[in-house]
């Protein structure tokens, strides 16, 4: 399966989804004009990726986001829901949610998400 590589813009994050390494990285800021349209290819890739996984193959997700607008917040939770479903079906998935100590909004957002997603191994990681 091909990797999903998307370069960052001012209002959209960089995406590095590596199928072989089973490592999904997303970093930057997200307030695109149309969040649903921006993330549609990401959903498509993730759905295709999850069905290729061998039983028990673990997935690592790194989210390093400095800002999410409200529509991106909702779309991000939907993406995480896909992973949550896979985790409930037996795929071990660890999510690392990075935040800067002086960016309380992103810590709160990570906390809100972790409350919603109980099957994922969700870690809040403070950047030093």
């Amino acid at each position: 399966m091909e990797n999903l590589i998307v370069e960052a813009t001012r209002s959209s994050p960089a995406i590095r989804f590596d199928a072989e390494q089973r490592c999904l990285r997303l970093s930057g800021e997200s307030y695109p004009e149309n969040a649903a349209a921006f993330y549609a290819p990401v959903f498509a890739w993730l759905k295709a990726f999850l069905v290729t996984l061998a039983p028990g193959a673990a997935v690592r997700v790194e989210l390093d986001i400095q800002y999410l607008n409200s529509s991106s917040t909702k779309v991000m939770l939907n993406l995480l829901d896909l992973l949550e479903q896979a985790a409930q079906d037996g795929t071990p998935i660890a999510v690392e949610w990075y935040y800067d100590p002086d960016n309380e909004a992103m810590l709160e957002c990570g906390q809100d998400f972790s409350e919603e997603l109980t099957a994922l191994d969700f870690h809040l990681m403070e950047r030093s």
Partner: protein
């Protein structure tokens, strides 16, 4: 012809504590550029990062709300659309030690009651109530217009005072103003 006095306009902006103002048709790239300018300004004014990000976030939500409302009219054949699309304004000001982000645009009268209901629902809530409503709305699917139904709640959570709004009748429209005090 009008007396086109920029000195007077500048003095008035300064007296009102206005740091940034944009009025006219919004595009996504204008929203991005102004957002960058706001952050650079706040950084140079030594504003700490949480406060800076709150101002930035509330500015983005307001500007995108105005833009999204206009986009609904962009695609319609309704003759009111042209005037609505010119009517947007966003203002960032400093008032009594607080940053204040305001926005406004013309809306159709038919859209007033649903908007007022949403605003009053949010105004009635304290911070724990806002958090609970946010949690509930996170699960509601995104509308076709890209509206998450979360923006107003997120702004209210960042505000130091209940959100304020005004409705002013202008011909067959209503001018909606939203004011958020950080």
């Amino acid at each position: 012809m009008h007396d086109f006095d920029l000195v007077q306009l500048r003095d008035e902006l300064s007296e009102r504590g206005i740091l940034m103002i944009f009025s006219g048709p919004f595009s996504h790239s204008i929203i991005e550029e102004l957002g960058e300018a706001v952050r650079n300004y706040l950084q140079s004014a030594q504003v700490n990062r949480p406060a800076m990000m709150d101002v930035f976030a509330v500015y983005i939500e307001q500007a995108q709300n105005v833009r999204n409302y206009m986009r609904r009219w962009e695609m319609s054949a309704d003759p009111r659309g042209a005037r609505i699309m010119q009517s947007g304004i966003v203002v960032i000001a400093r008032d009594q030690g607080h940053y204040v982000i305001s926005s406004g645009n013309l809306i159709a009268q038919a859209d007033v009651s649903a908007l007022v209901a949403r605003l009053e629902e949010i105004r009635a809530l304290d911070k724990p109530g806002l958090k609970a409503l946010h949690k509930e709305r996170l699960r509601v699917p995104l509308s076709d217009g890209g509206n998450a139904g979360l923006g107003l709640i997120e702004m209210a959570r960042k505000a130091s005072q209940p959100l304020q709004y005004a409705l002013t009748t202008v011909d067959e429209y209503v001018f909606f103003t939203l004011r958020i005090v950080i």
